[in-house]
Symmetry: C2
Subunit: 309 residues, 2 copies
Amino acid sequence: MKKIKIKVPATVANMVCGFDILGMAIHEPYDEMELKLLDSPEIIIKHEDRFGLSEDPSNNVAGVVLQHIQQHLKLTTGFEVTIRKHIKPGSGLGSSAASAAGAAFGANALLGNILSKEEMVHFAMFGEELASGVRHADNIAPCIYGGITLVKSSSPIDIIPLNTPDLFVAAVHPQVEVKTSDARQILKKNILLKDAIEQWGNIAGLVTGILKNDIPLIGRSLNDVIIEPVRSILIPKFEEIKAKSLKMGALGGGISGSGPSIFMLTERKQTAQDIARMMKSVYDDIEVESLIYVSKINPVGIEIVEKEY
Amino acid sequence: MKKIKIKVPATVANMVCGFDILGMAIHEPYDEMELKLLDSPEIIIKHEDRFGLSEDPSNNVAGVVLQHIQQHLKLTTGFEVTIRKHIKPGSGLGSSAASAAGAAFGANALLGNILSKEEMVHFAMFGEELASGVRHADNIAPCIYGGITLVKSSSPIDIIPLNTPDLFVAAVHPQVEVKTSDARQILKKNILLKDAIEQWGNIAGLVTGILKNDIPLIGRSLNDVIIEPVRSILIPKFEEIKAKSLKMGALGGGISGSGPSIFMLTERKQTAQDIARMMKSVYDDIEVESLIYVSKINPVGIEIVEKEY
């Protein structure tokens, strides 16, 4: 029986100023997924974790991705998927994207790599649609491509892999709930042109910094005058953590995806570790449990751990 | 007597989606400027052209730039400047920026290169302020740095030189008046967040295309959903010229600066020449006089033609 085991990494969407267009893969946390090709056209989902996610394929992120692949390719075969999720749903670290991207990646490998990366993104977006109602690719793209990706457009899909600067990421996931749909709803539909101009200057600066490996330019481009001022209200202690991180030497950072996780980029590992500890202690002080992660930007994305085919 | 003769090129600000942040230097048209260092602290401006620009230093773009340099550096010397302007004022091809940047560049050369490029931009922006009321650097920066530049911020000045893709530029200047101040006033102060997201995806794509020399990516990023739909109304035949240019093989293009000039980028010289002729004939048909220019993107910016010092 053909099967594959993969590690599917967490991802940080938006990267401060690149709302809905930029994302990066990190190493920690990651989900473990095992996919088997079945002779019959069933889709079986098993969750070996404790997040209470539905195992009904039509109501499971990985399930709907596989259903779409199956239908589109008119497969007579099916898939059994076992998911050990470590990226908590609702963390803002691309938990649903990991299930979706992992399903598309795993199925593609089992079918003999018949899909392009853009096609994998296309199918994985059905999973995001189930999870949040929006077919966005800003977490899926870095998960599949690795490194930092630009989603220039998600319809038609136009993804530009950028680069992987040699930087560390400190992230904290405070155990408070921010629903992606709520985080979208509080955004203003109208923004000031002058703010948009400042934002696109920062985006152009960030993209240039990433491509030229210009670390100071990355640092001074990590400013968001549009989304962060609104969304950060939903995240307790956001301002304090950001201010302390910058003081401790972070290049910059902000909300990961729609939150509540917060991430910071640093040049040195030690700085990232110190910042992660500080983040935890800020939440300890207000008796909010939190999980912290330190890793480098992940240049690869999904990795194959084991395969039989 | 120390003197310098320079060629100061036209520039195309905005580059479609990069409103207020991107600009590029071209070769044609260009102004000729001659600057002499005087023993006394006077500033003398002579215009050897027929645009009726004031020769009173306080009311002349080059004049105010030199006044600011003189004051800031507490100079006991002065400048005599002779300007043969070929970039028509009000063309949208960076006419005022050329006078301003040329003055700063020429003075700096005569003073022994004591200013950085960013300082030249700083002083030149006083000329833009006189011309349009706004201290913007999107034309000045490419004039001084050459190639395509990103003005990440004009206060503080943060300019990132990008790259010079091997492309041709066809430009037409129809002889209709569009004042920069009018072109600014008709813009909406509020824009839709969803449009801004599409715009910054295009900007990120354009910057990536420029830096990676990815010509198709440059082409599919040259879309402006915010400024062009409003400003193009001021320019007769804009839609027709754009549509025909794309059909003839242009990568893309749009309004140069605040107009009325229109520019198109092409891979081949022949295509640019054909497009320029088409542009002229469209305006001929409605009995609007026009000037056309074909050149490559100018990697150098201002050039020294002659110097004695």
